[in-house]
């Protein structure tokens, strides 16, 4: 079982760090190794929530990860991207372009989740709910998609 990338952006929306832990837990149970690509503040929030690295042991810099995917020095069969703003959409579209062989899951949340989801033009499986504090509306669909995604890789 290989590494799976969880790609996260600005940690402004409270559900983001909780979703990272939830996804990492799911991946570990499925026998995969979660790696989180994040900017420093988003990484710090996840590390604070998981100080002993029980859920996430490995972190990577967001921009460096894109560079390595573009160079072909890094590849993940599955990338799960958490998106809540235009920048997150832009980073994920870049990831889709530089790593076209990866299965890409886009998890959209925050106030503008539906509008952002409509703008997506890259191939991806979308999980969408306009939540900020309550993860519940996302979890059922997210778990369904994760179960399907880990079977595909």
């Amino acid at each position: 079982m290989g590494e799976v990338l969880i790609f996260i952006g600005c940690p402004q929306i409270p559900v983001q760090s909780a979703l990272v832990i939830h996804i990492a837990d799911f991946l570990q149970d499925a026998g995969h190794h979660p790696v989180v690509a994040a900017n420093p503040s988003a990484k710090q929030l996840v590390k604070t929530s998981d100080p002993k690295g029980y859920y996430v042991k490995d972190y990577k810099d967001l921009d460096k990860t894109i560079g390595e995917l573009a160079d072909g020095t890094l590849h993940y069969p599955l990338i799960i991207s958490l998106i809540h703003n235009d920048a997150g959409l832009t980073y994920t579209a870049t990831t889709a372009a530089v790593s076209p062989d990866s299965l890409l899951v886009s998890v959209l949340f925050g106030e503008h989740a539906y509008e952002l989801a409509e703008e997506i033009e890259y191939p991806t499986e979308k999980v969408v709910a306009p939540v900020t504090h309550n993860t519940r509306p996302l979890l059922t669909k997210l778990d369904e998609v994760l179960e399907w995604a880990v079977l595909k890789i």
Binding site: G9, I66, A70, Y91
Partner: protein, 94 residues
């Protein structure tokens, strides 16, 4: 080569969406080139939704620079090496 912070640059627009940035680049450039996402400038892979446009005006590069928490900026960068690289490897668009 080096980091954007070490270059002579100005910010043409900030906190815009990537689509808005693309239009600002087009309207402020005399030459326009399409490059693939991940195209490297200053040793850094460019972030962007295809088509990714880089402009040139007055021998300076004009392109979008996205930060996760601050959205997309349009920057004008005095980078002669980058200008040469974009002219050589980019696809001209009109």
């Amino acid at each position: 080569m080096g980091c954007l912070e070490n270059m002579n640059y100005e910010v043409l627009a900030k906190n815009c969406s990537f689509k808005e940035a693309r239009e600002i680049i087009k309207s402020n450039s005399t030459e326009k080139y399409e490059v693939p996402p991940g195209f490297k400038l200053l040793d850094k892979a460019l972030i962007g939704i295809p088509p990714l446009i880089i402009g040139i005006a007055n021998e300076k590069l004009i392109y979008a620079y996205t930060k996760p928490c601050h959205g997309t900026f349009v920057v004008v960068v005095d980078d002669p090496e980058g200008v040469e690289q974009v002219r050589k490897n980019g696809k001209p668009v009109w």
